[in-house]
Protein backbone atom coordinates (compact mmCIF):
# COMPACT_ATOMS: atom_id res chain seq x y z
CA UNK A 1 0.00 0.00 0.00
CA UNK A 2 1.27 3.43 -0.88
CA UNK A 3 0.53 5.00 2.45
CA UNK A 4 1.55 3.44 5.69
CA UNK A 5 0.76 4.97 9.02
CA UNK A 6 3.39 7.01 10.78
CA UNK A 7 6.07 4.91 12.49
CA UNK A 8 5.44 4.88 16.21
CA UNK A 9 9.07 5.65 16.97
CA UNK A 10 8.85 9.25 15.73
CA UNK A 11 9.17 11.65 18.62
CA UNK A 12 6.34 14.03 19.29
CA UNK A 13 7.17 17.54 18.20
CA UNK A 14 9.18 19.30 20.88
CA UNK A 15 7.08 22.07 22.37
CA UNK A 16 9.04 25.28 22.08
CA UNK A 17 7.37 28.47 23.16
CA UNK A 18 8.05 31.35 20.84
CA UNK A 19 8.64 28.95 17.97
CA UNK A 20 5.15 29.75 16.77
CA UNK A 21 5.77 33.45 16.42
CA UNK A 22 8.48 33.21 13.82
CA UNK A 23 7.34 33.48 10.25
CA UNK A 24 8.79 30.54 8.38
CA UNK A 25 9.39 31.89 4.89
CA UNK A 26 10.49 28.52 3.47
CA UNK A 27 7.23 26.89 4.54
CA UNK A 28 5.27 29.77 3.03
CA UNK A 29 7.08 29.43 -0.30
CA UNK A 30 6.40 25.69 -0.45
CA UNK A 31 2.74 26.19 0.41
CA UNK A 32 2.11 29.34 -1.62
CA UNK A 33 1.19 27.84 -5.03
CA UNK A 34 -1.26 25.40 -3.42
CA UNK A 35 -2.72 28.07 -1.15
CA UNK A 36 -3.27 30.47 -4.07
CA UNK A 37 -5.06 27.87 -6.20
CA UNK A 38 -7.17 26.67 -3.29
CA UNK A 39 -8.19 30.17 -2.22
CA UNK A 40 -8.93 31.46 -5.72
CA UNK A 41 -10.67 28.34 -7.06
CA UNK A 42 -12.23 26.73 -3.96
CA UNK A 43 -12.58 28.97 -0.95
CA UNK A 44 -13.58 32.23 -2.59
CA UNK A 45 -16.06 30.65 -5.07
CA UNK A 46 -17.61 28.68 -2.19
CA UNK A 47 -18.28 31.90 -0.29
CA UNK A 48 -19.69 33.53 -3.44
CA UNK A 49 -21.98 30.53 -4.06
CA UNK A 50 -23.28 30.63 -0.49
CA UNK A 51 -24.22 34.26 -1.05
CA UNK A 52 -25.72 33.64 -4.48
CA UNK A 53 -27.95 30.89 -3.08
CA UNK A 54 -29.90 33.62 -1.23
CA UNK A 55 -30.33 35.67 -4.38
CA UNK A 56 -32.28 35.45 -7.60
CA UNK A 57 -28.87 35.51 -9.29
CA UNK A 58 -30.00 36.84 -12.66
CA UNK A 59 -27.11 36.57 -15.13
CA UNK A 60 -24.93 34.90 -12.51
CA UNK A 61 -24.67 38.10 -10.49
CA UNK A 62 -26.33 39.41 -7.37
CA UNK A 63 -29.59 40.93 -8.55
CA UNK A 64 -32.29 40.55 -5.91
CA UNK A 65 -32.00 39.20 -2.39
CA UNK A 66 -34.58 36.46 -1.80
CA UNK A 67 -33.46 35.08 1.57
CA UNK A 68 -34.12 31.38 1.88
CA UNK A 69 -36.76 31.34 -0.85
CA UNK A 70 -34.59 29.25 -3.23
CA UNK A 71 -34.25 26.57 -0.57
CA UNK A 72 -37.94 26.67 0.38
CA UNK A 73 -38.90 26.34 -3.28
CA UNK A 74 -36.52 23.43 -3.73
CA UNK A 75 -38.00 21.38 -0.92
CA UNK A 76 -41.68 22.34 -1.10
CA UNK A 77 -42.46 23.69 -4.53
CA UNK A 78 -40.33 21.87 -7.10
CA UNK A 79 -41.58 18.40 -8.13
CA UNK A 80 -38.40 17.96 -10.19
CA UNK A 81 -36.36 18.14 -7.00
CA UNK A 82 -38.66 16.57 -4.42
CA UNK A 83 -42.28 15.50 -4.67
CA UNK A 84 -43.58 13.80 -1.57
CA UNK A 85 -46.51 11.49 -2.10
CA UNK A 86 -46.92 7.89 -2.99
CA UNK A 87 -44.58 6.99 -4.48
CA UNK A 88 -42.29 9.99 -3.88
CA UNK A 89 -40.25 11.27 -6.80
CA UNK A 90 -37.77 13.95 -7.82
CA UNK A 91 -33.99 14.25 -7.84
CA UNK A 92 -33.57 14.10 -4.07
CA UNK A 93 -35.76 10.99 -3.81
CA UNK A 94 -33.84 9.36 -6.68
CA UNK A 95 -30.65 9.97 -4.74
CA UNK A 96 -32.22 8.28 -1.71
CA UNK A 97 -32.94 5.21 -3.88
CA UNK A 98 -29.38 5.34 -5.19
CA UNK A 99 -27.89 5.60 -1.70
CA UNK A 100 -29.86 2.59 -0.44
CA UNK A 101 -29.68 0.18 -3.37
CA UNK A 102 -26.43 1.17 -5.07
CA UNK A 103 -24.47 1.25 -1.83
CA UNK A 104 -25.93 -2.00 -0.48
CA UNK A 105 -25.52 -3.92 -3.73
CA UNK A 106 -21.95 -2.70 -4.29
CA UNK A 107 -20.86 -3.67 -0.79
CA UNK A 108 -22.76 -6.98 -0.86
CA UNK A 109 -21.51 -8.07 -4.28
CA UNK A 110 -18.03 -6.73 -3.58
CA UNK A 111 -17.77 -8.77 -0.41
CA UNK A 112 -19.25 -11.85 -2.09
CA UNK A 113 -16.81 -11.68 -5.00
CA UNK A 114 -13.85 -10.94 -2.70
CA UNK A 115 -14.66 -13.94 -0.47
CA UNK A 116 -15.39 -16.33 -3.34
CA UNK A 117 -12.34 -15.25 -5.33
CA UNK A 118 -9.96 -16.33 -2.54
CA UNK A 119 -11.13 -19.91 -3.11
CA UNK A 120 -10.25 -20.17 -6.79
CA UNK A 121 -7.02 -20.16 -8.79
CA UNK A 122 -8.21 -17.41 -11.15
CA UNK A 123 -8.64 -14.88 -8.32
CA UNK A 124 -6.50 -12.19 -9.99
CA UNK A 125 -8.35 -12.55 -13.30
CA UNK A 126 -11.86 -12.29 -11.88
CA UNK A 127 -10.86 -9.28 -9.77
CA UNK A 128 -9.31 -7.54 -12.77
CA UNK A 129 -12.45 -8.17 -14.87
CA UNK A 130 -14.75 -6.71 -12.23
CA UNK A 131 -12.36 -3.80 -11.60
CA UNK A 132 -12.00 -2.83 -15.26
CA UNK A 133 -15.02 -0.44 -15.37
CA UNK A 134 -13.23 1.68 -12.73
CA UNK A 135 -10.63 2.65 -15.32
CA UNK A 136 -12.92 3.64 -18.17
CA UNK A 137 -14.94 6.82 -18.62
CA UNK A 138 -18.49 6.95 -17.24
CA UNK A 139 -19.32 8.28 -20.72
CA UNK A 140 -18.17 4.99 -22.25
CA UNK A 141 -20.01 2.97 -19.58
CA UNK A 142 -23.13 4.95 -20.47
CA UNK A 143 -22.77 4.08 -24.15
CA UNK A 144 -22.06 0.40 -23.38
CA UNK A 145 -25.24 0.07 -21.31
CA UNK A 146 -27.50 2.25 -23.46
CA UNK A 147 -26.64 -0.31 -26.14
CA UNK A 148 -27.45 -3.28 -23.86
CA UNK A 149 -30.78 -1.68 -22.87
CA UNK A 150 -31.75 -0.65 -26.42
CA UNK A 151 -35.45 -1.52 -26.98
CA UNK A 152 -35.01 -3.12 -30.42
CA UNK A 153 -34.34 -6.85 -29.73
CA UNK A 154 -32.25 -7.02 -32.92
CA UNK A 155 -29.82 -4.57 -31.33
CA UNK A 156 -30.16 -4.56 -27.56
CA UNK A 157 -28.80 -7.66 -25.83
CA UNK A 158 -31.12 -7.54 -22.84
CA UNK A 159 -34.29 -7.37 -24.93
CA UNK A 160 -32.94 -10.14 -27.16
CA UNK A 161 -32.51 -12.33 -24.06
CA UNK A 162 -35.96 -11.42 -22.72
CA UNK A 163 -37.38 -12.17 -26.16
CA UNK A 164 -36.28 -15.80 -25.80
CA UNK A 165 -38.71 -16.04 -22.87
CA UNK A 166 -41.42 -14.22 -24.79
CA UNK A 167 -41.09 -11.02 -22.73
CA UNK A 168 -40.80 -7.50 -24.01
CA UNK A 169 -39.41 -5.57 -25.68
CA UNK A 170 -38.97 -3.29 -22.64
CA UNK A 171 -37.83 0.34 -22.99
CA UNK A 172 -35.76 0.26 -19.79
CA UNK A 173 -34.57 3.86 -20.12
CA UNK A 174 -37.80 5.12 -21.65
CA UNK A 175 -40.22 4.52 -18.78
CA UNK A 176 -40.28 6.39 -15.45
CA UNK A 177 -41.02 3.07 -13.71
CA UNK A 178 -37.84 1.33 -14.81
CA UNK A 179 -35.35 4.07 -15.60
CA UNK A 180 -33.94 4.57 -12.10
CA UNK A 181 -33.51 0.84 -11.51
CA UNK A 182 -31.83 0.43 -14.88
CA UNK A 183 -29.43 3.28 -14.05
CA UNK A 184 -28.70 1.97 -10.55
CA UNK A 185 -27.81 -1.42 -12.07
CA UNK A 186 -25.27 0.32 -14.33
CA UNK A 187 -23.86 2.25 -11.36
CA UNK A 188 -23.43 -1.01 -9.46
CA UNK A 189 -21.75 -2.61 -12.48
CA UNK A 190 -19.32 0.29 -12.56
CA UNK A 191 -18.46 0.39 -8.84
CA UNK A 192 -18.46 -3.23 -7.59
CA UNK A 193 -14.81 -3.51 -8.62
CA UNK A 194 -13.89 -0.72 -6.21
CA UNK A 195 -15.63 -2.48 -3.30
CA UNK A 196 -14.10 -5.81 -4.31
CA UNK A 197 -10.53 -4.53 -4.39
CA UNK A 198 -10.75 -2.67 -1.07
CA UNK A 199 -12.58 -5.48 0.76
CA UNK A 200 -10.31 -8.12 -0.76
CA UNK A 201 -7.28 -6.27 0.63
CA UNK A 202 -8.99 -6.19 4.03
CA UNK A 203 -9.78 -9.92 3.90
CA UNK A 204 -6.13 -10.73 3.22
CA UNK A 205 -5.39 -9.04 6.53
CA UNK A 206 -7.43 -11.60 8.51
CA UNK A 207 -5.02 -14.15 9.89
CA UNK A 208 -5.51 -17.60 8.42
CA UNK A 209 -4.87 -19.15 11.85
CA UNK A 210 -8.08 -17.64 13.21
CA UNK A 211 -10.05 -19.11 10.32
CA UNK A 212 -8.30 -22.48 10.62
CA UNK A 213 -8.95 -22.64 14.36
CA UNK A 214 -12.65 -21.94 13.78
CA UNK A 215 -12.81 -24.65 11.11
CA UNK A 216 -11.04 -27.17 13.37
CA UNK A 217 -13.57 -26.35 16.09
CA UNK A 218 -16.27 -27.34 13.62
CA UNK A 219 -17.65 -23.92 12.76
CA UNK A 220 -19.69 -23.91 9.56
CA UNK A 221 -18.63 -21.72 6.63
CA UNK A 222 -21.78 -19.68 7.17
CA UNK A 223 -20.99 -18.87 10.79
CA UNK A 224 -17.34 -18.19 9.93
CA UNK A 225 -18.56 -15.64 7.37
CA UNK A 226 -21.02 -13.89 9.68
CA UNK A 227 -19.19 -14.20 13.00
CA UNK A 228 -15.55 -13.77 11.99
CA UNK A 229 -15.17 -12.25 8.52
CA UNK A 230 -17.93 -9.61 8.68
CA UNK A 231 -16.88 -8.17 12.08
CA UNK A 232 -13.23 -8.06 11.05
CA UNK A 233 -13.90 -6.12 7.86
CA UNK A 234 -16.55 -3.81 9.32
CA UNK A 235 -14.27 -0.75 9.25
CA UNK A 236 -13.29 -1.18 5.57
CA UNK A 237 -16.97 -1.81 4.79
CA UNK A 238 -17.93 1.50 6.40
CA UNK A 239 -15.14 3.30 4.51
CA UNK A 240 -16.30 1.78 1.21
CA UNK A 241 -19.91 2.63 2.10
CA UNK A 242 -19.06 6.28 2.80
CA UNK A 243 -17.10 6.57 -0.47
CA UNK A 244 -20.06 5.11 -2.40
CA UNK A 245 -22.51 7.53 -0.75
CA UNK A 246 -20.23 10.41 -1.79
CA UNK A 247 -20.26 8.99 -5.35
CA UNK A 248 -24.06 9.11 -5.31
CA UNK A 249 -24.21 12.73 -4.15
CA UNK A 250 -21.82 13.67 -7.00
CA UNK A 251 -23.46 11.39 -9.59
CA UNK A 252 -23.72 13.21 -12.92
CA UNK A 253 -21.99 11.64 -15.95
CA UNK A 254 -24.04 8.47 -16.18
CA UNK A 255 -27.33 10.36 -15.97
CA UNK A 256 -26.26 12.97 -18.51
CA UNK A 257 -25.07 10.36 -21.01
CA UNK A 258 -27.86 7.78 -20.66
CA UNK A 259 -31.05 9.78 -20.06
CA UNK A 260 -30.36 13.54 -19.65
CA UNK A 261 -32.50 13.17 -16.54
CA UNK A 262 -35.43 11.77 -18.51
CA UNK A 263 -37.90 10.60 -19.52
CA UNK A 264 -39.26 13.98 -18.49
CA UNK A 265 -37.35 14.66 -15.30
CA UNK A 266 -37.83 11.20 -13.77
CA UNK A 267 -34.18 10.12 -13.48
CA UNK A 268 -32.61 13.39 -12.32
CA UNK A 269 -30.14 13.39 -9.46
CA UNK A 270 -29.09 16.34 -7.28
CA UNK A 271 -25.83 16.86 -9.16
CA UNK A 272 -27.66 16.66 -12.49
CA UNK A 273 -30.27 19.18 -11.31
CA UNK A 274 -27.52 21.58 -10.23
CA UNK A 275 -25.97 21.55 -13.70
CA UNK A 276 -29.34 21.68 -15.46
CA UNK A 277 -30.75 24.58 -13.43
CA UNK A 278 -27.55 26.64 -13.50
CA UNK A 279 -26.40 26.29 -17.09
CA UNK A 280 -28.92 25.27 -19.71
CA UNK A 281 -31.77 26.88 -17.71
CA UNK A 282 -29.76 29.90 -16.48
CA UNK A 283 -31.36 29.95 -13.01
CA UNK A 284 -28.13 30.78 -11.23
CA UNK A 285 -29.46 31.53 -7.75
CA UNK A 286 -31.45 28.31 -7.79
CA UNK A 287 -28.46 26.32 -9.08
CA UNK A 288 -26.30 27.83 -6.34
CA UNK A 289 -28.86 26.70 -3.76
CA UNK A 290 -28.66 23.12 -5.09
CA UNK A 291 -24.86 23.28 -4.90
CA UNK A 292 -25.18 24.33 -1.25
CA UNK A 293 -27.54 21.40 -0.60
CA UNK A 294 -24.86 19.10 -2.06
CA UNK A 295 -22.26 20.68 0.19
CA UNK A 296 -24.48 20.27 3.26
CA UNK A 297 -25.08 16.60 2.43
CA UNK A 298 -21.30 16.12 2.29
CA UNK A 299 -20.60 17.88 5.59
CA UNK A 300 -21.19 14.72 7.72
CA UNK A 301 -18.66 12.88 5.55
CA UNK A 302 -16.27 15.81 5.91
CA UNK A 303 -16.56 15.65 9.70
CA UNK A 304 -16.20 11.86 9.62
CA UNK A 305 -12.95 12.17 7.63
CA UNK A 306 -11.46 14.96 9.73
CA UNK A 307 -12.26 13.02 12.91
CA UNK A 308 -10.90 9.78 11.52
CA UNK A 309 -7.63 11.30 10.44
CA UNK A 310 -7.08 13.54 13.41
CA UNK A 311 -7.80 10.73 15.89
CA UNK A 312 -5.35 8.48 14.06
CA UNK A 313 -2.65 11.05 14.84
CA UNK A 314 -1.44 11.09 11.26
CA UNK A 315 -0.34 14.62 12.03
CA UNK A 316 3.22 14.85 13.18
Amino acid sequence: MAVASRPASRDPRPKQRGDGFQINWTAILFLLPAALLLIIFLVFPAIFTVGLSTDRGRGGEFSEFVGLRNFINLFTNDPNFLRLGFPPSGALWNNVLWVIFYTFLCVFLGLLIAVMATRVRYEAIIKAIVFLPMAIAATAIGVIWSFVYFPNPNTGLLNALLGIFGIGPVAFLGSPDTVNWALIAVGVWGSVGFATVILSAALKGISTEVLEAARVDGASERSIFFKIIIPMVSLPISVVGVTLVVNVIKLFDLIYVMTRGGPGTSSRTIAFSMYQEAFPAGRYGYGAAIAIVMLLLLVPVLIFNVRRFSSERVTA
Partner: protein, 296 residues
Protein backbone atom coordinates in the same frame (compact mmCIF):
# COMPACT_ATOMS: atom_id res chain seq x y z
CA UNK B 1 -4.18 -17.88 -1.44
CA UNK B 2 -5.47 -19.06 1.89
CA UNK B 3 -3.93 -21.82 3.94
CA UNK B 4 -6.91 -24.09 3.30
CA UNK B 5 -6.50 -23.89 -0.42
CA UNK B 6 -2.81 -24.73 -0.11
CA UNK B 7 -3.60 -27.67 2.15
CA UNK B 8 -6.24 -29.00 -0.17
CA UNK B 9 -3.85 -28.72 -3.09
CA UNK B 10 -1.17 -30.88 -1.50
CA UNK B 11 -3.65 -33.45 -0.29
CA UNK B 12 -5.37 -33.87 -3.62
CA UNK B 13 -2.36 -35.64 -5.15
CA UNK B 14 -3.08 -38.89 -3.30
CA UNK B 15 -6.79 -38.83 -3.96
CA UNK B 16 -8.53 -40.99 -6.50
CA UNK B 17 -10.13 -39.53 -9.60
CA UNK B 18 -13.60 -40.11 -8.14
CA UNK B 19 -12.73 -38.17 -5.00
CA UNK B 20 -11.33 -35.29 -7.02
CA UNK B 21 -14.46 -35.23 -9.14
CA UNK B 22 -16.64 -35.13 -6.02
CA UNK B 23 -14.62 -32.23 -4.69
CA UNK B 24 -14.93 -30.35 -7.98
CA UNK B 25 -18.70 -30.83 -8.05
CA UNK B 26 -18.93 -29.79 -4.40
CA UNK B 27 -17.16 -26.58 -5.27
CA UNK B 28 -18.92 -25.99 -8.56
CA UNK B 29 -21.41 -23.41 -7.18
CA UNK B 30 -18.50 -21.02 -6.63
CA UNK B 31 -17.24 -21.56 -10.18
CA UNK B 32 -20.73 -21.14 -11.61
CA UNK B 33 -21.39 -17.91 -9.71
CA UNK B 34 -17.97 -16.44 -10.51
CA UNK B 35 -18.33 -17.52 -14.13
CA UNK B 36 -21.68 -15.77 -14.35
CA UNK B 37 -20.22 -12.63 -12.75
CA UNK B 38 -17.34 -12.72 -15.22
CA UNK B 39 -19.83 -12.92 -18.11
CA UNK B 40 -21.98 -10.03 -16.82
CA UNK B 41 -18.90 -7.85 -16.47
CA UNK B 42 -17.34 -8.77 -19.83
CA UNK B 43 -20.18 -9.35 -22.31
CA UNK B 44 -21.54 -5.75 -22.50
CA UNK B 45 -18.10 -4.35 -23.34
CA UNK B 46 -17.34 -7.16 -25.80
CA UNK B 47 -20.69 -6.53 -27.50
CA UNK B 48 -19.80 -2.89 -28.04
CA UNK B 49 -16.26 -3.82 -29.19
CA UNK B 50 -17.65 -6.23 -31.80
CA UNK B 51 -20.20 -3.63 -32.92
CA UNK B 52 -17.43 -1.10 -33.49
CA UNK B 53 -15.95 -3.44 -36.14
CA UNK B 54 -19.25 -4.43 -37.82
CA UNK B 55 -20.55 -2.74 -40.97
CA UNK B 56 -23.39 -0.41 -39.93
CA UNK B 57 -25.78 -2.07 -42.40
CA UNK B 58 -25.24 -5.38 -40.53
CA UNK B 59 -25.76 -3.59 -37.21
CA UNK B 60 -29.22 -2.45 -38.29
CA UNK B 61 -30.20 -5.92 -39.54
CA UNK B 62 -29.08 -8.17 -36.68
CA UNK B 63 -27.57 -8.27 -33.18
CA UNK B 64 -23.80 -8.27 -32.63
CA UNK B 65 -24.00 -11.84 -31.32
CA UNK B 66 -24.75 -13.10 -34.85
CA UNK B 67 -21.12 -12.26 -35.69
CA UNK B 68 -20.17 -15.76 -34.55
CA UNK B 69 -22.29 -17.42 -37.26
CA UNK B 70 -21.96 -14.67 -39.86
CA UNK B 71 -18.60 -12.94 -39.46
CA UNK B 72 -17.87 -9.68 -41.25
CA UNK B 73 -15.47 -7.00 -40.07
CA UNK B 74 -14.61 -3.49 -41.17
CA UNK B 75 -12.56 -0.50 -40.01
CA UNK B 76 -14.97 1.96 -41.66
CA UNK B 77 -16.55 3.04 -38.36
CA UNK B 78 -13.22 4.09 -36.92
CA UNK B 79 -12.25 5.93 -40.11
CA UNK B 80 -15.60 7.70 -40.17
CA UNK B 81 -15.55 8.95 -36.58
CA UNK B 82 -11.90 9.97 -36.79
CA UNK B 83 -12.21 11.91 -40.03
CA UNK B 84 -15.83 12.90 -40.47
CA UNK B 85 -16.95 13.43 -36.88
CA UNK B 86 -13.93 15.22 -35.47
CA UNK B 87 -12.98 12.57 -32.94
CA UNK B 88 -9.32 12.87 -34.01
CA UNK B 89 -9.39 16.54 -32.99
CA UNK B 90 -11.21 15.69 -29.78
CA UNK B 91 -8.57 13.06 -28.99
CA UNK B 92 -5.85 15.72 -29.29
CA UNK B 93 -7.92 18.11 -27.14
CA UNK B 94 -8.14 15.40 -24.49
CA UNK B 95 -4.34 15.11 -24.57
CA UNK B 96 -3.88 18.91 -24.33
CA UNK B 97 -6.30 19.05 -21.40
CA UNK B 98 -5.05 16.01 -19.52
CA UNK B 99 -1.28 16.47 -19.47
CA UNK B 100 -1.11 19.94 -17.83
CA UNK B 101 -4.11 19.09 -15.62
CA UNK B 102 -2.04 16.20 -14.27
CA UNK B 103 1.41 17.78 -14.08
CA UNK B 104 0.38 21.09 -12.44
CA UNK B 105 -1.25 19.55 -9.34
CA UNK B 106 1.46 16.88 -9.15
CA UNK B 107 4.19 19.51 -8.69
CA UNK B 108 2.16 21.87 -6.49
CA UNK B 109 0.81 19.11 -4.24
CA UNK B 110 4.29 17.62 -3.79
CA UNK B 111 5.69 20.97 -2.65
CA UNK B 112 2.85 21.58 -0.20
CA UNK B 113 2.95 17.99 1.08
CA UNK B 114 6.66 18.36 1.77
CA UNK B 115 6.09 21.48 3.86
CA UNK B 116 3.30 19.75 5.79
CA UNK B 117 5.46 16.70 6.45
CA UNK B 118 8.96 18.05 7.07
CA UNK B 119 9.01 21.80 7.73
CA UNK B 120 7.94 23.05 11.14
CA UNK B 121 5.63 26.03 11.14
CA UNK B 122 2.77 27.26 13.31
CA UNK B 123 -0.70 25.75 12.77
CA UNK B 124 0.72 22.97 10.61
CA UNK B 125 -1.69 20.34 11.98
CA UNK B 126 -4.63 22.68 11.56
CA UNK B 127 -3.60 23.42 7.98
CA UNK B 128 -3.53 19.70 7.24
CA UNK B 129 -6.98 19.16 8.75
CA UNK B 130 -8.33 22.01 6.61
CA UNK B 131 -6.87 20.26 3.55
CA UNK B 132 -8.67 17.04 4.56
CA UNK B 133 -11.90 19.03 4.91
CA UNK B 134 -11.44 20.62 1.46
CA UNK B 135 -11.29 17.10 -0.06
CA UNK B 136 -15.06 16.91 0.31
CA UNK B 137 -15.93 20.21 -1.41
CA UNK B 138 -17.95 19.31 -4.54
CA UNK B 139 -16.80 20.83 -7.84
CA UNK B 140 -20.32 22.25 -8.29
CA UNK B 141 -19.62 24.84 -5.60
CA UNK B 142 -17.33 26.73 -8.00
CA UNK B 143 -19.29 26.44 -11.24
CA UNK B 144 -21.22 29.71 -11.24
CA UNK B 145 -18.61 32.15 -9.85
CA UNK B 146 -15.74 30.60 -11.81
CA UNK B 147 -17.61 30.58 -15.12
CA UNK B 148 -18.68 34.20 -14.52
CA UNK B 149 -15.20 35.20 -13.44
CA UNK B 150 -13.26 33.44 -16.20
CA UNK B 151 -15.51 34.24 -19.17
CA UNK B 152 -14.10 37.77 -19.76
CA UNK B 153 -10.51 36.51 -19.44
CA UNK B 154 -10.78 34.03 -22.31
CA UNK B 155 -9.76 31.16 -20.05
CA UNK B 156 -12.91 29.24 -21.02
CA UNK B 157 -12.03 29.14 -24.71
CA UNK B 158 -8.37 28.27 -24.44
CA UNK B 159 -7.52 25.43 -22.08
CA UNK B 160 -6.47 27.62 -19.14
CA UNK B 161 -9.74 27.41 -17.23
CA UNK B 162 -9.98 23.65 -17.26
CA UNK B 163 -6.28 23.21 -16.37
CA UNK B 164 -6.54 25.46 -13.33
CA UNK B 165 -9.87 24.10 -12.07
CA UNK B 166 -8.81 20.47 -12.46
CA UNK B 167 -5.57 21.29 -10.67
CA UNK B 168 -7.26 23.16 -7.82
CA UNK B 169 -9.98 20.59 -7.13
CA UNK B 170 -7.46 17.75 -7.18
CA UNK B 171 -4.98 19.41 -4.80
CA UNK B 172 -6.56 18.47 -1.44
CA UNK B 173 -6.55 14.75 -2.29
CA UNK B 174 -3.04 14.98 -3.76
CA UNK B 175 -1.61 16.84 -0.77
CA UNK B 176 -3.30 14.37 1.60
CA UNK B 177 -1.98 11.33 -0.25
CA UNK B 178 1.58 12.60 -0.71
CA UNK B 179 1.94 14.11 2.76
CA UNK B 180 0.95 10.78 4.32
CA UNK B 181 3.60 9.06 2.23
CA UNK B 182 6.36 11.64 2.80
CA UNK B 183 5.92 11.41 6.58
CA UNK B 184 6.83 7.71 6.50
CA UNK B 185 10.28 8.40 5.02
CA UNK B 186 13.13 7.77 7.49
CA UNK B 187 13.57 10.79 9.73
CA UNK B 188 17.30 10.16 10.21
CA UNK B 189 17.95 10.55 6.51
CA UNK B 190 16.33 13.97 6.38
CA UNK B 191 17.87 15.16 9.67
CA UNK B 192 21.31 14.05 8.47
CA UNK B 193 20.90 16.02 5.25
CA UNK B 194 19.85 19.08 7.30
CA UNK B 195 22.96 18.77 9.46
CA UNK B 196 25.06 18.56 6.29
CA UNK B 197 23.61 21.94 5.39
CA UNK B 198 21.13 20.88 2.71
CA UNK B 199 18.33 23.37 2.05
CA UNK B 200 14.67 22.35 2.16
CA UNK B 201 14.49 22.56 -1.61
CA UNK B 202 17.60 20.37 -1.83
CA UNK B 203 16.13 17.78 0.54
CA UNK B 204 12.88 17.83 -1.41
CA UNK B 205 14.60 17.34 -4.76
CA UNK B 206 17.33 14.88 -3.87
CA UNK B 207 15.76 12.78 -1.09
CA UNK B 208 11.99 13.08 -0.77
CA UNK B 209 10.96 13.03 -4.43
CA UNK B 210 13.25 10.15 -5.53
CA UNK B 211 12.12 8.02 -2.57
CA UNK B 212 8.43 8.78 -3.18
CA UNK B 213 8.15 7.75 -6.82
CA UNK B 214 5.50 5.06 -6.10
CA UNK B 215 3.21 7.51 -4.29
CA UNK B 216 3.73 10.29 -6.83
CA UNK B 217 3.07 7.80 -9.64
CA UNK B 218 -0.14 6.59 -7.96
CA UNK B 219 -1.43 10.14 -7.68
CA UNK B 220 -0.33 10.99 -11.21
CA UNK B 221 -2.12 7.98 -12.72
CA UNK B 222 -5.22 8.56 -10.64
CA UNK B 223 -5.38 12.20 -11.73
CA UNK B 224 -4.58 11.38 -15.36
CA UNK B 225 -7.46 8.90 -15.62
CA UNK B 226 -9.79 11.22 -13.70
CA UNK B 227 -9.18 14.11 -16.09
CA UNK B 228 -9.15 11.94 -19.22
CA UNK B 229 -12.53 10.44 -18.28
CA UNK B 230 -14.10 13.66 -17.00
CA UNK B 231 -17.26 14.93 -18.64
CA UNK B 232 -18.75 17.43 -16.17
CA UNK B 233 -15.82 19.84 -15.74
CA UNK B 234 -15.29 19.89 -19.52
CA UNK B 235 -18.97 20.71 -20.12
CA UNK B 236 -18.68 23.68 -17.77
CA UNK B 237 -15.16 25.02 -18.27
CA UNK B 238 -14.52 24.32 -22.00
CA UNK B 239 -16.90 26.56 -23.88
CA UNK B 240 -15.33 26.48 -27.33
CA UNK B 241 -16.65 23.74 -29.59
CA UNK B 242 -13.24 23.31 -31.22
CA UNK B 243 -11.61 22.60 -27.84
CA UNK B 244 -13.99 19.87 -26.59
CA UNK B 245 -12.38 16.67 -25.29
CA UNK B 246 -13.61 13.20 -26.23
CA UNK B 247 -16.25 12.57 -23.54
CA UNK B 248 -18.10 15.77 -24.54
CA UNK B 249 -17.76 14.91 -28.24
CA UNK B 250 -19.26 11.45 -27.61
CA UNK B 251 -22.29 12.89 -25.84
CA UNK B 252 -22.76 15.19 -28.86
CA UNK B 253 -22.58 12.17 -31.20
CA UNK B 254 -25.09 10.41 -28.96
CA UNK B 255 -27.48 13.30 -29.52
CA UNK B 256 -26.95 13.34 -33.31
CA UNK B 257 -26.75 9.62 -34.07
CA UNK B 258 -28.97 8.14 -31.36
CA UNK B 259 -29.06 4.67 -32.91
CA UNK B 260 -25.90 4.65 -35.03
CA UNK B 261 -24.29 2.21 -32.62
CA UNK B 262 -21.41 1.34 -34.94
CA UNK B 263 -20.17 4.93 -34.82
CA UNK B 264 -20.86 5.40 -31.11
CA UNK B 265 -19.08 2.13 -30.36
CA UNK B 266 -16.00 3.12 -32.33
CA UNK B 267 -15.86 6.53 -30.63
CA UNK B 268 -16.31 4.94 -27.19
CA UNK B 269 -13.45 2.52 -27.75
CA UNK B 270 -11.21 5.36 -28.80
CA UNK B 271 -11.91 7.15 -25.49
CA UNK B 272 -11.35 3.88 -23.60
CA UNK B 273 -8.10 3.06 -25.40
CA UNK B 274 -5.77 5.24 -23.33
CA UNK B 275 -7.21 4.27 -19.89
CA UNK B 276 -7.10 0.59 -20.85
CA UNK B 277 -3.42 0.86 -21.82
CA UNK B 278 -2.65 2.75 -18.61
CA UNK B 279 -4.70 0.29 -16.58
CA UNK B 280 -3.06 -2.84 -17.93
CA UNK B 281 0.50 -1.50 -17.83
CA UNK B 282 0.31 0.34 -14.49
CA UNK B 283 -2.50 -1.48 -12.67
CA UNK B 284 -0.47 -1.77 -9.46
CA UNK B 285 -0.04 2.00 -9.07
CA UNK B 286 -3.68 2.65 -9.94
CA UNK B 287 -4.97 0.21 -7.34
CA UNK B 288 -2.53 1.65 -4.80
CA UNK B 289 -3.80 5.16 -5.41
CA UNK B 290 -7.34 3.93 -4.96
CA UNK B 291 -6.54 2.07 -1.77
CA UNK B 292 -4.66 5.03 -0.36
CA UNK B 293 -7.59 7.30 -1.09
CA UNK B 294 -10.09 5.30 0.91
CA UNK B 295 -8.39 3.11 3.48
CA UNK B 296 -6.12 5.24 5.67
Amino acid sequence: MTATAVGAGTRSSDRTFAQRLTRLIGRSPIHIVLGLIGLIWLVPSIGLLITSFRPSSDMRASGWWTIFTNPSFTLDNYLRVLQGEGIAGAFLNSVYITIPSTLIPLVIASLAAFALAWIKFPFRDTTFLIIIGLMMIPVQIGFIPLVQGMRPTGLLTNFGGIWLTHAAYSLPFGIFLLRNFFITLPKDLIEAARIDGASNLGIFRTIVVPLSVPAIASYGIFQFLWVWNDLLMALVYVQSNAAQPMPVKITQLLGTYASEWSLLAAASFLVMLVPLIVFFSLQRFFVQGLLAGSVK
